[in-house]
C-alpha cells in the first residue's frame, strides 16, 4: 500500500540567506510531488523603486541580493542606458565587466562549497570557501567593500581601478588557477562524486525550454544561452571567451558548468585588465527622458532582467525586476520529483537558489502529522548515501 509522507522544507534558517519553503510529498523513498512557497523575503523593492530617484535606485537594487549584489545594479543601469540612449565610456564598460566576473567567481565557489557539504564532502566546502576569500579581499581593495561594491552608476562606474591594484589582482587570479584545477580534478576524477551526482535531479532540454530556465541551470541541460554572448553588454564583446554547455541536465552537469565557468571568468578578467583603455569612467548623465528601457545581464545564476519606465520625472513610474532564481527554482517541480529523498537536498540546491531552502526541513507522516525528520536529517541522509557509495566503490572515507 502506498503511504504518502509530507516533508516541509523551510522557510527560515539563521545560516541561510533566502527563505523558501518546499513541501515535499514522499512515497517511501521517492519524492512524488513538491509544493514551492516563496515570498518570505518579499520587501516590495519594485514599489520602493517608484519612490526613489533614478540614481538612488542603483543602490536600492544592489540590496536585492547579498551574493551577486552587482548583478541587479548592472542590469538596472543597462536598462536606464537603453531608455535614455546613453553612450558609456569604454573604460567604465571594462571595469563593470571585471567586477561582474569577480562576482561570478566568488559566487560559484560559494555554491561549490555548499554543494560539497550537502553530499558529505566537507573538505571541498572548506577549500572552496578558502579560495573565495582572496577574491573578496580584491573587492575590498578595488571598491572598498567585500560585498555591495556600489560600483555601478547610470552612465559609468563610481570608482576607477588604480594601476597599482591591477598587478595585485592579476597575482590573485594566478594563485586561484591551480585551485580551480584542483576542484576540477576533484569533481571530474572522483568516482564517488560521479556516482553520487550523475543521473540525479535531471532537467531535460525540453523541460528546461518549457520552464524557461536560465543560466547554468539551462546550460547544463544543453541550452546554449548566455546574455553575455547573446546580447553583449559591458566589454564582453571585446574579449574572447566560451559559453560552457553540458548536455546531461543532471547535478553533475550543473557542477561541471560552474567549475568550467570559473576558468572563463578568470580569462575574461585578465583580458579586460590588459585591454582596458585609459580615459573617463562616467558619462555624467544629467536628465532621464520619458520612455522605457530593458536591461539584462548574466548573473552567476542566470539572466537578471530589469524593465524601467520613465514619465520624464526623476523617478521610475514602473520598475520590473526578475531575478534568475525566479525561473530556476520553479523548475524543481520537475527536477526533484521522481528522485529519491536522499537526493532531494542536493537537487533543490543545484539551481543555486542562494541556499535558502534546504536546511530546515521536517518530515511529517501525512496521516498522523507526526514529525519524522528535520532538515539536518535530510542532509545527513544525503551524506550517508555518499558514504555508502564510497564503500561500494572502495574509497576510504
Amino acid at each position: 500500500m502506498s503511504h504518502k509522507v509530507l516533508i516541509p522544507i523551510g522557510p527560515y534558517h539563521p545560516l541561510q540567506d533566502e527563505p523558501e519553503f518546499f513541501r515535499l510529498y514522499v512515497e517511501g523513498e521517492r519524492v512524488v510531488d513538491i509544493d514551492i512557497v516563496i515570498g518570505y523575503l518579499h520587501r516590495g523593492i519594485e514599489k520602493l523603486s517608484e519612490s526613489k530617484h533614478f540614481d538612488q535606485v542603483t543602490f536600492l537594487v544592489e540590496r536585492i541580493c547579498g551574493i551577486c549584489s552587482t548583478s541587479h545594479p548592472f542590469a538596472y543601469v543597462n536598462a536606464m542606458e537603453d531608455l535614455a540612449k546613453i553612450e558609456v565610456p569604454e573604460r567604465a564598460l571594462f571595469i563593470r565587466t571585471i567586477i561582474a566576473e569577480m562576482e561570478r567567481i566568488h559566487s560559484h565557489l560559494l555554491w561549490l562549497g555548499l554543494a560539497g557539504h550537502f553530499i558529505g564532502y566537507n573538505t571541498v566546502w572548506m577549500w572552496a570557501w578558502r579560495y573565495r576569500e582572496p577574491i573578496l579581499d580584491m573587492f575590498e581593495m578595488i571598491t572598498g567593500n567585500r560585498n555591495h561594491y556600489a560600483m555601478m552608476k547610470i552612465g559609468g562606474v563610481r570608482r576607477d581601478i588604480k594601476d597599482e591594484d591591477i598587478s595585485i589582482l592579476k597575482k590573485t587570479l594566478d594563485d586561484l588557477l591551480p585551485a580551480v584545477d584542483m576542484f576540477k580534478g576533484a569533481v571530474m576524477d572522483d568516482p564517488v562524486i560521479k556516482a553520487r551526482l550523475k543521473g540525479i535531479g535531471i532537467l531535460t532540454k525540453q523541460q528546461a525550454i518549457d520552464w524557461a530556465v536560465v543560466g547554468p541551470t539551462a546550460r547544463a541541460s544543453g541550452i546554449n544561452i548566455d546574455v553575455r554572448k547573446d546580447d553583449p553588454y559591458g566589454a564582453y564583446d571585446k574579449v574572447s571567451w566560451n559559453v560552457i554547455v553540458e548536455e546531461d541536465g543532471d547535478i553533475f552537469a550543473k557542477t561541471i558548468v560552474r567549475i568550467l565557468e570559473l576558468y572563463e571568468s578568470i580569462s575574461i578578467i585578465r583580458q579586460c585588465l590588459d585591454k582596458m583603455p585609459k580615459g573617463e569612467i562616467d558619462a555624467n548623465v544629467k536628465d532621464i527622458p520619458s520612455g522605457e528601457g530593458i536591461g539584462h545581464v548574466e548573473a552567476p545564476r542566470g539572466e537578471c532582467f530589469h524593465y524601467v519606465r520613465s514619465d520624464g520625472t526623476n523617478r521610475p513610474v514602473r520598475h520590473k525586476i526578475r531575478a534568475p532564481s525566479y525561473m530556476n527554482v520553479a523548475s524543481n517541480k520537475v527536477a526533484a520529483v521522481g528522485g529519491t529523498l536522499s537526493d532531494a537536498a542536493i537537487t533543490l540546491a543545484a539551481v543555486d537558489p542562494c541556499y535558502c531552502c534546504t536546511e530546515r526541513l521536517i518530515v511529517l507522516d501525512k496521516h498522523s502529522d507526526k514529525k519524522i525528520m528535520n532538515g539536518w536529517d535530510l542532509i545527513k541522509l544525503s551524506q550517508e548515501k555518499t558514504e555508502k557509495l564510497k564503500k561500494i566503490i572502495g574509497c576510504k572515507s
Partner: protein
C-alpha cells in the same frame, strides 16, 4: 528570415504599433483577446524564451508587457496589451501554454488585481497572507 517578418507573417493583423527602440529592443501591441494565441506562436512555434512580464497601472488601463527573448540574436521582443476595464480587469492566462507563465501571473494578480482566466493555481505568490484583500500594491492613484 528576420524574427519580425516571421511574427508578422504568422500573426498578420493581430499585431500592431511596432516600435523598434533599437536593433535589440522591439515592442508591439496586441488586442488582449488575442494574447493567448500570440504567446503560443511566439513561445511554441517560434521558440522564443519567455523572460518575464511587467504589469503596469497607467491612466489608460492596466498594461501588461510580456517580454520574450530571442537569445540567438539577443533581441527582446515585448508584447504590449492593455486591459481598459480597471474595475474588473481580466485576461486569458498563458499558464496553459507553459508553466513558465505561472508565477508571474500569480504575481500580477496579487499586485495589480488582474484576473487570469484559466490559470490553474491563482493564489498569492509573494504577498503575506495577512495582506488585506483587494488592496493592490502596484496600483496607482491617477488624476481623472
Amino acid at each position: 528570415m528576420e524574427i519580425i517578418q516571421q511574427i508578422k507573417e504568422k500573426l498578420k493583423d493581430r499585431v500592431s504599433d511596432w516600435h523598434r527602440h533599437n536593433q535589440r529592443r522591439i515592442y508591439f501591441t496586441v488586442n488582449k483577446k488575442d494574447i493567448r494565441e500570440v504567446a503560443r506562436v511566439l513561445f511554441k512555434d517560434l521558440g522564443l524564451r519567455f523572460a518575464t512580464a511587467s504589469g503596469i497601472d497607467t491612466p489608460l488601463g492596466l498594461e501588461i508587457l510580456y517580454h520574450f527573448s530571442l537569445d540567438k540574436s539577443g533581441q527582446i521582443i515585448s508584447v504590449r496589451t492593455i486591459i481598459e476595464d480597471k474595475k474588473n480587469p481580466e485576461i486569458d492566462s498563458l499558464a496553459v501554454i507553459s508553466e513558465a507563465f505561472e508565477w508571474i501571473e500569480r504575481e500580477m494578480w496579487e499586485m495589480l488585481g488582474i484576473n487570469f482566466i484559466g490559470h490553474p493555481n491563482l493564489k498569492r505568490l509573494l504577498l503575506a497572507d495577512e495582506w488585506p484583500q483587494e488592496q493592490y500594491p502596484l496600483r496607482h492613484e491617477h488624476e481623472s
